[in-house]
């Protein structure tokens, strides 16, 4: 498996705040598909469970305005002694359902391994 990092550079207009940037970018297109508003409506109808923090974002804003945020995947949520792992597949027209389903086990493996003694 390989990943591509594509650096993006852009100029902000003077009125954009950190909040505006986060609001414009979230939720990430890679975890909901596009066109965003239309796919969000479809997903809200289709997904029975809440995603909780999964595919949300975690990060920090420094006092000078610099910020760094991720998309939460491959993460473990511990709450009241219960650990929660979420994995999912992005499905496109060419996807094969069985293969996509099987891939979820690969995605969850490293987190599940923590619980093996």
């Amino acid at each position: 498996m390989s990943a591509f990092l594509i650096p993006l550079e852009f100029l902000l207009n003077n009125t954009s705040s950190n909040y505006d940037i986060i609001k414009a970018m979230m939720p990430g297109g890679s975890v909901i598909g596009c066109p965003k508003i239309s796919t969000l409506n479809l997903l809200n109808y289709q997904e029975k469970d809440s995603r909780n923090i999964y595919t949300g974002s975690f990060g920090y804003i420094k006092t000078n305005g610099d910020m760094r945020f991720n998309i939460i995947i491959r993460s473990l949520l511990n709450y009241k002694n219960i650990s929660e792992i979420s994995v999912a597949s992005g499905v496109i027209l060419g996807s094969e359902s069985k293969k996509e389903y099987a891939e979820n086990y690969i995605k969850a493996k490293s987190l599940l391994d923590i619980f093996k003694s």
């Binding site: 596009c34 066109p35 965003k36 508003i37 027209l93």
Partner: protein, 185 residues
Amino acid sequence: MIYLIDHEDSFTFNLAHLLGGFDDIFVSNYYNIDKAKIAKAKTVVFSPGPGEPKDYPATTKIYHQFRGKKKIIGICLGFQHILYAEGGKIIQQNKIFHGYQSIISVLPTSKVFKNIKQLSVGRYHSLKLQEPFHSNTLNITMRCKTTKAAMALEDHTNNVFGFQFHPDSFLTKNGKLLIQKILSA
């Protein structure tokens, strides 16, 4: 000034960025069209978007209001919208193209892209124009090399242009040049 109507698409601002390289650009949501501003615009652009043209009646109204009075450009859904407003039928295509690059042919009917024979373009659409389609002023000027689906239109009488593919996509080679050519046509 270019007025871009956003049919709530994730590509709209890529398109706005591309158009903004040539003229002042104003983007508004489909549900929030600024009537005073659009009346002042030199060019009106219909963005891509989910669904089909009949889901956006306000865009059809704007098309009929400004056809022949301003330059009108439609991209993807916007392209289908122009054809729909001209009496064309928009139907499901057998092979659906979402995020595919394909080769399209430029037809002799094109006045804007006379010196180009074919293009590599990025496509994101489930629907297409049902043909035969007849218009006295509007010509289909590009077609998919394999499926023959309509890929571009030019109406030099009414100053209307459109692409079914996405010139704003990284899958389209020289997308900026394609936009520049129809803006200056």
